[in-house]
Subunit: 418 residues, 2 copies
Amino acid sequence: MKKILIVLCCLAMANGLFAQQALFNSSSVVSPETNPDGSVTFRLYYPKAVTVQVSGDFLPQKKVHVNFGGRSMAIDVTGSADMKEDTAGVWSYTSDPLDPELYSYGFIVNGMKYPDPSNIYRNRDVSTWTNIFIIAKSEGDKGYLYSVNKVPHGNLEKVWYASPSLKLERRMTIYTPAGYEEGKGKYPVLYLLHGAGGDENAWSELGRAAQIMDNMIANGKAKPMIVVMPNGNANTSAAPGEWSAGMYQPSLGFGGGKGPDFGKPAASMEQSFPDIVKYVESHYRVLKGQYDRAMCGLSMGGGQTFSTTMLYPSMFGYIGLFSPGLSLGKGSSGGKSFLDAMNSDSEFQTDIAALFAAKPRLYWIGIGKTDFLYSPVADLRTYLDAHGYPYEYMETDGGHIWRNWRIYLTVFAGKLFK
Amino acid sequence: MKKILIVLCCLAMANGLFAQQALFNSSSVVSPETNPDGSVTFRLYYPKAVTVQVSGDFLPQKKVHVNFGGRSMAIDVTGSADMKEDTAGVWSYTSDPLDPELYSYGFIVNGMKYPDPSNIYRNRDVSTWTNIFIIAKSEGDKGYLYSVNKVPHGNLEKVWYASPSLKLERRMTIYTPAGYEEGKGKYPVLYLLHGAGGDENAWSELGRAAQIMDNMIANGKAKPMIVVMPNGNANTSAAPGEWSAGMYQPSLGFGGGKGPDFGKPAASMEQSFPDIVKYVESHYRVLKGQYDRAMCGLSMGGGQTFSTTMLYPSMFGYIGLFSPGLSLGKGSSGGKSFLDAMNSDSEFQTDIAALFAAKPRLYWIGIGKTDFLYSPVADLRTYLDAHGYPYEYMETDGGHIWRNWRIYLTVFAGKLFK
């Protein structure tokens, strides 16, 4: 026992002593800590700090003015709250009681971002890492759905497949539900797409897709299904660092950041989509009818779902657009509203008519009330209404955020293959 | 195109604006940057800092004295170097030209650890996150082996399996080599174990096991094989956050940290190992003979390999101990040297005789010259020599670190199944 203790301690020394003193001190602070009333206390040992704040999506958003291309814009940013220092150099803040949810946060020390060193749980979104925590109160609430519970778990695989149309070997994430490995049955398939700046890891990490599916399937809220999470960037093979382009810094080109340029893809993501379906249907025990296939995506992936399902109108029986980035694939709409663009594009009109003629069982649209993409989505609803094309619509609070996309996945997944 | 740009920019706003000003500024700094001569420049925008250092394993280690249980101990810690500030508030440091390797580093701002915000590539080791980068110069060097290159890639799967002896559903990581999905052949299997504080993600993340295997197999340096990376903690189901115990903070109990206590396991990891082999051999196309199975592990996992292969002497044809934490499974050796312990333990003597009677093709030991576990490993070599038990031995510079374990994996894997 003594020997084991020494081994463990020495391991800690070998592995952990990165900044000596700081580590020793920070490790004795617990953060975040959920209190019995559902409030959360954040702590940071930082004796020399002048100001410390916690910034997180559990706090009210703030408006800030930014200069973007010479234009001043007011945008909503994550709220923050001042932390107070005790005599031992530990700064703390206790939130109000919080509703069930997966929250993101970080500290701001002397005006600079600082991750919570006491919390190993972190998510990367494009080029930003943030700490996360989950509040769960009762079975079936959002926090429960996003947590790993005592239910049977599906497997998660990172798969390389050939995409002849993109002329690339590419990687995707595939969830197989609990029981798949032991059984012989065939399963329906949901194709689940990420947004701009994301990759094939986004839905399983930021989106908690495996936890959501495990919990919904275990509780009878969703049918057992395979979930395929491809990489939606047609000029890359895989997530940053996971393919031969090296450890590049992903970027959306905003704020002076220079992202890598991998050139023009050999085809569009939409054109290449059958490569993915073909791989899945030849390597997994899946059902292959139109009503055994669903496709949905968020933001850019919602736009890809919009376009792909028109390009292959009888391929998918269930279609979901989550805060979609809609376009008609003809470049700029020249200042016209999206409604005007749709009303003056006969090719689009033929395509969407063909899609609804193929009778998808569900055309589902979800968007947040303050999403900057609200207006074109409202235009799409107007167009669908005008033509009598049936769809379901869900409007939630908030904007273009993962919190909404996780909700949309639970609602959409619960309607599939029934 | 204009529309796409606006969409992208708004996405950046929605996702990235965590600490407003800091993000805008930090995103324009490139760090780390590898220079043509192989040196590396680190940069950090931090205009209000008083001191900024870079701390990394590319710098010479430093000795520091720590108080541990009332005893003063001198230990080697990661080296650091001062960074210099320019007039724009950007601190920088350029290293000497570096040899091919995967390096870990972070910044220290005003004495506190600070991750490099311009580098998304980070590894978690127990409770510490560090930035990483890779220097690769030519095909086959260490940096090349640890990088994702233009070679066929294997798949990586997170699999849940039943362990009846541990009375748990458990998770492991399984690498299947390129060609497995398309072929019909059967493959040999390497069981690869992590150390204390690690989990089933350690070898694929910190250890770069998938990259090493992809590159070695593609270059003909290793036979195509399946690599199984179980969780070696017999009282847990999976990595922190990946099972129903919630988002606990892992700890080795050092420096006052209080790790979670999941109680006594239903059996030892060694006793439970056939549960893993049984799952693999019933769910994958694998060869099932003694000489089709290899087992190795680092530190605690090296000790588990040492014990498991004696418990099941004809199960594995290739055995690898990487900086092993050796014990005879009888608790404290009461202050005796490990050699004395072996020489006075008749059960051990019978077990190791039975192991070598089962004729493993390879019994391989690797350790660093300054590893704190050097002495018991030297004792094991003395014992093996005295009894004429054949083994291979590799001694490297440095101590109990991932840098050595990646080297040992490449050497050991190159000797398997030939």
